[in-house]
Symmetry: C2
Subunit: 356 residues, 2 copies
DNA sequence: AGGCAGTGCTGGAACGTTAGAGCAACCCCA
DNA sequence: TGGGGTTGCTCTAACGTTCCAGCACTGCCT
């Protein structure tokens, strides 16, 4: 009568069993729809469970079945940097969608600091609180992941990790994508002197995008300059004066949209015209590039689809699937989104009607 | 010798105990730095644990201690809608920061669909896989939360929930903030005929922002129009023609930045000048409003700080703190960010130098 | 009549951890 | 010399679940 006064001690299998008058095992089996339990008993058990508001204690289940029904989304970098990036939102959307479909929880695992970071995801995975992990934005030099993979834990990487050939990964071909962006400025817009604004060069994607730029420029015999940035809008703005100093450049290939925006905003403020004086193309298409004026042409990175596929593969791994060596790495296609900053789309009033 | 061949069966307390030659309990106590274990034994145990790569099995610990060392971040709406919003990123940043500080994991809990949603967070909380929850963006009509709160489970709400007076919540004063925005257009810019673009009116914040707009307008005797939107950029664009038809309006107060942007982009495309013909002010300041041209004046909502405080309060609750009735609700201050769309900041080139 | 295959349940052990009770051994002071 | 306190461990019983082995009972075939 005076039940659930404060923090209603959770109802367990035993409570249900007593109510129905069967054993605990019978209740457990009934709730799993085991064939060896009679239909009538099952019905009575399910009714009682509903009435008492029974919910399986996930810790006990995890302990017994050594299955947590949860996956981790691991972000080794500091949360400031990555969450600030719209990339993460797309990834999270993809991961949760697939996790939901598999009735699994998603645990977000960030490392407070770089040094403690190594041990952070190590602990999560080995503590048995998750069945596997998606690892995103890992620093190039991280060896902890290698160990996890070598120990046979289900791990899928998001991005390209040439130094981890055995790990399952889902990424894009950054080199080829950067070539396409560069060639677009050269071939579609006739630009002959290009500057590339790089990301931090300890990130594989930054390296690859630079290499793609250089390869395409070399192939077509156009002039090249390199300015180093760090993927932030500020670093793009900071690169502005350096680009101004390069009198003859007529095209900018930025390693992401934020830097493109930072540089563009600076140069527009100094009276340079985009795209007339300087054609600009960015990279990522995570939202920013669509809403600026001029809108920024870019290489669309299908982050959500990458996350979806990575998570699908993770559940395959958890399910016990073995991956052939030549199937370890999946590459998603990228797409050139031509907007105003390269000159493909006219400036001015007519942009109201475009659809997604 | 042939250890850890495949999925190295995780090392347990027992493995460490056998290695050192003590009992399992001794190892458990040593790792918790219990005073009744000798210093030398502790040292030997810790060394062995390190060597064997021992990590506490969190399921077993959770089962035994009925403490999961994890909190849930619950997003009842469909993931599409909410993750698409930069709001969530700020919230996640705040929540993970505090969770890290408390050595707790963060579980993201989204409901695949609206109907199934109710049971979703109910299950998460009652299954014992988390110690408490932050609930964000809950629909106004949700009664499941009421039950959780009534059952004494640690729950903190993000936003204002006037129909849940007992629940602990952290929010802003949307009415007052909307009044401030509206008064800014009236007093600082002399606007006399205002249109308000609302959010979905089953959300408390949308209701409050509309009410604040109406109150301020009435107080200053300016004309008002209401156009209903749903917080999306598309609904802002769709409201564009309706606003055009309202010939005499000279100010737009949008319930968020995305709608302000949608409407503004449409109207700019039709030859209307912002801010000259129409002063625009938005709401949120989650990123978009800073990067558009013209940049959008807005009410800054300190989402990350709200999340930080909510999570702090959650851990207080988990720690057993009782909350006095008059301390249940915390209100964070909002701030007017005056940019170009209302006329405060000049248009054109000079915006390169602004800092965060 | 005996065996034998189902059917429908019960009993009990195990998962890895924690914590309270218990117990030797020691030291100190009366 | 013996009682009382401290130190440093061990033993054991949980926590709630799952699952295998067992067991009684029915029905059927030979």
């Amino acid at each position: 009568m005076t039940e659930r006064r404060k923090v209603a001690a959770n109802t367990t299998l035993r409570d249900v069993a007593e109510r129905v008058g069967v054993s605990v095992s019978a209740v457990s089996m009934a709730l799993q729809d085991h064939p060896r339990i009679g239909d009538d008993t099952k019905r009575r058990i399910r009714e009682a469970a509903d009435e008492l508001g029974y919910v399986t204690n996930s810790a006990a289940r995890a302990l017994r079945a050594s299955k947590a029904d949860a996956i981790a989304l691991i972000v080794p970098n500091t949360s400031q940097h990555v969450f600030g990036h719209a990339y993460f939102m797309h990834v999270l959307t993809g991961v949760t969608a697939v996790a939901n479909r598999n009735d699994a929880q998603v645990v977000i695992s960030t490392s407070p600091d770089e040094s403690h970071g190594k041990v952070a995801y190590d602990r999560v995975l080995r503590s048995g609180s998750v069945d596997g992990a998606i690892v995103t934005s890992a620093a190039v030099t991280d060896d902890g992941i290698q160990r996890l993979v070598a120990d046979g834990l289900p791990v899928v990487l998001l991005g390209r990790f040439p130094y981890l050939p055995d790990a399952v990964s889902v990424g894009i071909d950054d080199v080829r994508a950067s070539e396409l962006a560069t060639e677009h400025l050269i071939q579609a817009h006739g630009r002959r002197a290009l500057v590339h604004l790089t990301g931090p060069l300890d990130h594989q994607s930054a390296i690859d995008r630079r290499d793609g730029f250089l390869a395409a420029a070399a192939r077509h015999g156009v002039g090249t300059y390199i300015v180093e940035g760090d993927f932030s809008e500020e670093s793009g703005a900071a690169a502005g004066p350096q680009i101004e100093a390069l009198g003859d450049v007529d095209g900018l290939v930025a390693a992401n949209d934020e830097m493109a925006f930072g540089a563009m905003r600076h140069l527009l403020g100094r009276g340079r015209r985009v795209p007339e004086d300087l054609a600009v193309i960015g990279f990522d298409d995570f939202g920013l590039s669509r809403v600026t004026t001029p809108s920024i042409s870019t290489m669309h990175v299908p982050a959500e689809r990458m996350a979806t596929q990575a998570t699908d593969r993770l559940f395959d791994l958890i399910g016990g699937a073995r991956v052939a060596a030549d199937e370890a790495h999946t590459v998603q296609p990228v797409e050139l989104i031509a907007r105003q900053s390269c000159g493909c789309e006219p400036m001015g009033r007519a942009q109201g009607g475009d659809k997604q």
